[in-house]
């Protein structure tokens, strides 16, 4: 790919990018969110048309008008959000869009199954062709995606953030599969913003920043620190340091909590734990094991069917979000744009959202715009929210700045307990660093923090104690200092419970 330029209204996503892939190599594309990695690959895959630049494949200039053309030329893409049809079987997903040998009828099932099993054998991708996709785990779904590409004769595989949704064990399996594919002569483009994996997986690494290539380096000739510097453009603290915790009285107590999911199935099956002042209690787990239901029940957004939530000695079970807030809970919601802010409201209005109806912001039922703006300006300064003005609609902020704004608002309420759900999801390295520093700072100041995150790395960095959630239960609580990533990983997949054959009483 030479000199690729792709503009969107208001931004240049790719500003003259050069990229090359050798046969039989794993080439990583590294960069922060918004650096243009995914755009570049969507251009290559025919989803976007480039505004300038050329694509050459095996010495021939090509241009793809649609993914169909790209597939025909031997490209295959595994998207970050899987491109699968959940109610379809594995086999149906794989033959979708393909010509059938007995058009217009669908191909005979047994012959499809046969070919799928042969492929999965050859590349070590275990799957069941007649399973419906929605019943599969995330790792299995990813294998279906890879298989789908191979079935279409892909020689070049593009994997967009393939590890973002996987458990540590699944990541290892994936890397093994990738190496096997390369051994069989395939080439792989691996998109990621995680430094460890990029170093472990790839032969060469191209770093993108602000739509431009910073450099292309051999994986063996670089290290984490150098990559981080290239990616962000300055020195980055990768792991926020922290002092030992000094926990005091319990502030949030959850007892035998039960609740149902949106589909009416049990999502929490008797969850108990407590979070003390001056500590961060992390909840680890693969997405969809009851974390979002737990978050919602504590925040007063979902009914508990049994059990208790106690915040600062007050029973807040099934109280309204307002009452829960008055009891001392601040909440950083996992769904930032749906629950965390009002996109069309100004930054100032968002910053005083919960406090707006009481003095000094409202006096005798009349809003005091000047006071609100002053408070907003103070918070914007203090929390380094980069915004043109406090009157800018919150929806215009970047993810990192939106999250800083939410953090500012929640901490300005002087909470006793902070519920931080996926606080760095989708943020880039420097914003993550900022949020992490703030959380530790608040912990040291005596706040009780419940951290819910599917990023194991984040849980390990920040938490003092770690509870592992699996299928709506806490299957183990471990002390972060003694935490073993493999053990936690096994608990996350349900293949191990605390006390199975490990030491008891880590908590």
């Amino acid at each position: 790919m030479r000199g690729i330029v792709k503009r969107f209204p208001g931004v240049v996503a790719n500003a003259g990018v050069d990229f090359d892939l050798l046969p039989g190599e794993i080439h990583a594309l590294l960069g922060e969110n918004g650096a243009g990695k995914t755009t570049l690959m969507n251009v290559l895959y025919g989803l976007y048309e480039p505004d300038a630049g050329e694509i050459w494949l095996y010495g021939k200039r090509v241009s793809f008008a649609s993914p169909r053309d790209a597939i025909a030329s031997g490209l295959g893409m595994v998207h970050q959000h899987f491109m699968l049809i959940p109610p379809f079987t594995v086999a149906e997903n794989i033959i979708l869009g393909q010509r059938s040998p007995r058009e217009p009828l669908l191909e005979d099932r047994s012959s499809v199954y046969e070919r799928l099993l042969a492929l999965s054998e050859r590349y070590g991708l275990a799957i069941q062709p007649d399973a419906e996709v929605w019943t599969l785990s995330v790792g299995e779904q990813q294998r279906v995606e890879i298989l789908k590409a191979l079935y279409r004769g892909a020689e070049v595989l593009i994997l967009d953030e393939p590890t973002a949704v996987l458990t540590p064990q699944e990541v290892e399996e994936l890397l093994a599969i990738l190496h096997r594919l390369v051994d069989e002569g395939k080439s792989i483009i691996f998109i990621s913003h995680k430094l460890d994996e990029v170093l472990a997986a790839s032969d060469r690494i191209t770093v993108l920043r602000d739509g431009k290539v910073v450099d292309t380096v051999d994986a063996s000739a670089t290290n984490k620190k150098a990559l981080a510097r290239m990616m962000v453009g300055r020195e980055v603290v990768l792991r926020v340091s922290k002092k030992p915790a000094n926990p005091r009285e319990p502030r949030l107590i959850v007892r035998e909590l039960r609740a149902n999911s949106d589909r009416g199935l049990p999502a929490l099956r008797g969850v108990s734990f407590e979070v003390r002042a001056g500590e961060i209690f992390g909840i680890a787990g693969v997405a969809g094991n009851g974390q979002s239901e737990l978050e919602e029940v504590i925040a007063g957004l979902r009914r508990a069917t049994a059990g208790q939530v106690i915040i600062c000695d007050k029973d807040t079970t099934n109280c309204s979000p307002r009452e829960v807030g008055q009891a001392g809970l601040a909440h950083i919601p996992s769904d930032r744009y749906r629950r965390g802010l009002l996109k069309d409201f100004s930054v100032a209005d968002n910053l005083v959202l919960q406090r707006v109806s009481s003095p000094p912001f409202t006096v005798h039922g009349v809003l005091r715009r000047d006071v609100i703006r002053q408070e907003a300006q103070r918070l914007v300064r203090e929390f380094d929210v980069r915004t043109p003005s406090v009157d800018t609609p919150a929806g215009k902020l970047s993810g990192g700045n939106a999250q800083k704004m939410i953090l500012a608002r929640e901490l300005a309420r002087n909470p006793r307990v902070l519920l931080a759900a996926q606080p760095t999801r989708g943020l880039d390295v420097s914003a993550i660093e900022y949020v992490h520093r703030r959380l530790i700072e608040q912990r040291d100041a005596g706040l009780a923090i419940l951290l819910i995150s599917t990023e194991l790395e984040e849980i390990l960095t920040l938490s003092d104690r770690i509870g592992v959630m699996y299928e709506g239960e806490i299957v183990g609580v471990v002390d972060a200092r003694e935490a073993n990533i493999n053990e936690i990983g096994l608990m996350m997949t349900g293949s191990k419970r605390q006390g199975d054959d490990v030491k008891e009483g880590a908590a």
């Binding site: 491109m83 699968l84 379809f88 033959i95 869009g97 393909q98 669908l106």
Partner: protein, 330 residues
């Protein structure tokens, strides 16, 4: 009113036979809407499509029977009229597809627009053609199936109908086969569930949605034409009487499956047939105890609402139903 009349064999046989016949336009429309909705397009304009089918069909039949080509058209006039009904459905479908697929307009609004447009156009065309309201067409002869129609009871109920009834029965199987046994069906269903995934798999989302919308409205137009050309043999403004809306509701009852669509439409047809008969009986014995006919007219609609309630709260709808697909937007 003498209720014992209702419980006589001959009455029941006539009732079920008529119920099947009355179900035909609705079955066709539901089948069409199932195809359309399976592709992710929610066409609420079915009522407008059906009334256009009914007026196009009726006018075609009338001119073939009474116009200058009367002698040439002859026995084929009803068939050509049904074809005209289908084509007018396709024309309406094209409007829906342009609005909702190409222009990505809100599908609820596009659909409602189609209803208003259909009613207005149908009335306009009919009034242009006739000043009086007494025009009639000759319809289709019944076509008893040899041997089978002579089976007692069953033969009378199932095998002594006009050809559109048999065609509709075959259509139920054909639509099921299309959706679940052909590559095109797989594409339709994939586009209705996750168009982005379908596109990355090499499916042309726009083309599939166009074809599913047009095929769906062709069937609905055919349903409208069957109503005026074959069954009632006349046209009135608003003659479809909400059958298009009923069809939209029955799609939910049928959980987007052709087989269940047949069940739902038969329930509607039976209720419709029953209310006609009770009305007729009440006429005979006008007086105390007669049910006001307005209440009887409601019967099939109430049946439909009850059927819907029984089904409510189930999540079987295509995941992308009603959502326009924007390329590249997640």
């Amino acid at each position: 009113m003498n209720w014992s009349l209702i419980l006589q064999w001959s009455f029941l046989i006539a009732l079920v036979t008529a119920g099947i016949r009355l179900a035909v336009p609705v079955v066709l429309a539901v089948l069409g809407e199932i195809i359309t909705e399976r592709s992710g397009v929610l066409n609420l304009g079915l009522e407008g499509v059906m009334i256009m089918g009914s007026v196009a069909g009726f006018l075609t039949a009338y001119y073939l029977e009474n116009g200058p080509m009367a002698s040439a058209g002859g026995e084929w006039s009803a068939w050509l009229a049904l074809l005209a009904g289908m084509l007018s459905g396709v024309a309406m479908g094209l409007i829906m597809a342009v609005l909702s697929v190409t222009l990505r307009a809100d599908q609820v609004i596009s659909g409602v627009t189609l209803v208003v447009l259909g009613h207005g156009l149908a009335a306009y065309f009919y009034r242009q053609a006739f000043s009086s309201l007494t025009a009639r067409v000759s319809g289709m002869e019944a076509l008893p199936i040899p041997l089978l129609s002579r089976i007692p009871v069953v033969g009378e109920i199932l095998f002594n109908h006009d050809p559109t009834v048999y065609i509709t029965a075959l259509m139920v199987v054909a639509v099921w086969f299309l959706l679940f046994r052909t590559t095109w069906g797989l594409r339709i269903r994939s586009v209705g569930e996750n168009p982005a995934a379908a596109e990355t798999s090499g499916v042309n989302v726009g083309l599939v949605r166009y074809s599913a919308t047009l095929l769906g409205t062709a069937l609905a137009g055919l349903g409208g034409a069957v109503l005026t050309v074959v069954q009632l043999r006349l046209f009135r403004e608003g003659i479809t009487a909400g059958r298009g809306w009923i069809a939209v509701a029955l799609v939910i009852f049928a959980r987007w499956r052709p087989g269940l669509a047949l069940v739902g439409a038969l329930l509607f047809g039976l209720a419709d047939a029953l209310q006609y008969r009770i009305q007729a009986l009440s006429q005979v014995e006008r007086g105390v105890g007669a049910i006001p006919y307005e209440f009887l007219l409601m019967l099939p609609y109430i049946m439909t609402i009850l059927a819907l309630l029984y089904r409510s709260g189930r999540a079987d709808a295509p995941a992308a139903l009603g959502r326009p697909y924007v390329k590249g937007a997640d």
